[in-house]
Symmetry: C2
Subunit: 346 residues, 2 copies
């Protein structure tokens, strides 16, 4: 096997590296007046702006043992675009900051940016700025995403109303099962490096973990069908955590029906194989990047036209609490058990 | 001495921490529609937007041995505001992402945010979002600053013209001498912990390093006097590096007159004490956060009304190169020797 080329970052320096990374970057939106190359990017806002930022840290949010760098670059953009879509807005620009130790080569950074650029192309966003610096240890990626929408169509978390229907796009828990599988295979590998990693037949859950997508299509569906959700949030920390945010901030209660929570067959079977109750993958898993939203009851028939949206519950008066109605016919309080890097660390 | 209270971050978790940090945050600008608490901040742009981001990494950009956390929070905002001012724009909003190891207590993070909030108050910017997460090692702060200005008044780097005057605000090299002193005193302390740290009489240079300010006043002066610089950049990596960016991107040459480069007496004397040629502190030091800009020759008298702006050179045809005219009457090529974290690391 040919040895991969390794160019030391120090041989280029910050500006040389930036020149190399930003080759061939094209700006597509008329709102992107000036991209990389000045003290700041210049953006001509055409509608109301939404801005979000997320920081991803090696060893906390990703493990490079099983995360290809290109996928990591892609995912770091997706998690931010998902936040923009969760406001019912259209992402237009991103800025990407990377801090890296000299363990990484220029080629490695180029791989990360290949993923970033791929996400830009697929989701039609312009890479307009960022920062590149050294780190003492590990890789840190901070992405900022800027989107826009007419003010009256921007959807927040705190506006769900009693009687609204609770809906979610796609299916839940797959990314968590993908992570669980990857972590087991990593352990197998660490215990016996000669053992072969067996991910065969698990493309679906592994793909959901390593290369998630954001629900651009759902936001486009809303626009086409004149649907404005009454509230919305993206599912990044697990369904239970997001439902709690939505209900708490809207000051409402909720009944979530277990039987309607969408879980893919692959996720379901893998959960059972690992001895996990599949509903817990959906409730506490996280990293689904699906959209959790509420709609007025009269929009039920409109939403039903989308094959990939499930109506999973109903918004109730706050006094009725936030409940899971199980397949067995019982009610349980939903508590926020989502992924939380600050609580997990020790 | 009373022992400082230490609350573990893990006892609060991400959302508890965010609740605690974001207490008492008020939004002042009518353009800040929605701040912290949703998937994204909502901003109603009133003019053309400029957006910049900078990532600060422990051990690369700051050393907590001599950097108080409150100062660090303050400075992390200032370096971004300086980039907004360098576009001749007015900063309005910031987003702050922090990744921290569990070596830090909740109280430590609150100190960082105290500095962030102090900068927000002084510079009239709204803290509208961010992200808080664990890190495996050390502290990383990423700040995004958003500003605005009428499109025709936004100033870029690439528009300097032959015959323009090269100007700089304030004085240069002080932050570098402050850093040099702090690093020496740290070494003294590490070699002999019982020795006392002696920073007496060095408030000026130490202050410039630990608690820099951004030149809001200069941008306000431009507005009052109807001055629009023909090009502008902030001095973060040293004068020589910024002059090179400005000349290269504008495709012009330049003569910089050493005798007009502003260096404070404290900086000058400390440089000599350390055996450093003072002009080199200005050329290669960095972290001054002053504004380097060019003006049309007819604006000379207007600029002269500001006591803290120096005319340090003239823009020439590109063929004449980028030259330093020394006090001794010699010409030297200016080469970019600025601070560069990616070249420094080893």
């Amino acid at each position: 096997m040919e040895k991969a080329k390794r160019t030391e970052i120090s041989s280029l320096g910050e500006f040389g590296l930036i020149d190399r990374i930003t080759q061939n970057i094209e700006l597509h939106h008329t709102s992107s007046i000036k991209g990389i190359g000045d003290d700041a990017a210049i953006i001509e806002a055409e509608k109301t702006q939404v801005v979000t930022t997320d920081i991803l840290v090696e060893g906390i949010h990703f493990d490079l043992v099983y995360t290809p760098l290109k996928h990591l670059g892609y995912k770091s953009v997706i998690v931010n675009l998902s936040d923009v879509y969760a406001m019912n807005a259209i992402p237009k620009q991103i800025l990407v900051s990377i801090a890296i130790s000299n363990r990484f080569s220029v080629e490695a950074i180029e791989e990360i940016y290949e993923g970033v650029k791929l996400a830009c192309k697929k989701y039609k966003v312009d890479l307009v700025g960022g920062d590149t610096t050294a780190s003492q240890k590990g890789l840190i990626i901070n992405v900022v995403a800027i989107g826009e929408q007419e003010r009256t169509k921007i959807v927040q978390r705190n506006t769900a109303k009693e009687g609204d229907l609770l809906c979610v796009s796609g299916d839940l828990g797959a990314a968590y099962m993908g992570l669980t599988l990857l972590q087991r295979e990593k352990q197998v590998f660490l215990n016996a490096p000669e053992a072969s990693i067996d991910l065969a037949g698990n493309d679906f859950i592994v793909g959901k973990q390593l290369k998630p997508e954001a629900r651009k299509d759902v936001i486009e569906f809303f626009a086409e069908h004149q649907i404005i959700p009454t509230s919305m949030i993206d599912v990044s920390d697990g369904l239970s955590s997001e439902i709690m945010h939505l209900c708490k901030q809207s000051n409402v209660g909720c009944q979530l029906n277990e039987e309607h929570v969408p879980i893919a067959e692959e996720t379901y079977n893998k959960a059972l194989e690992f001895g996990i109750d599949p509903i817990n993958c959906a409730l506490s898993g996280g990293e689904d990047y699906e959209l959790l939203f509420t709609i007025a009851a009269e929009d039920r028939t409109k939403v039903k036209q989308h094959p990939d949206i499930s109506i999973i519950g109903e918004i109730l008066d706050a006094n009725l609490g936030v409940k899971l109605f199980t397949k067995g016919g019982n009610y349980h309080d939903i508590i926020s058990l989502g992924w939380n890097s600050l609580k997990d660390e020790d």
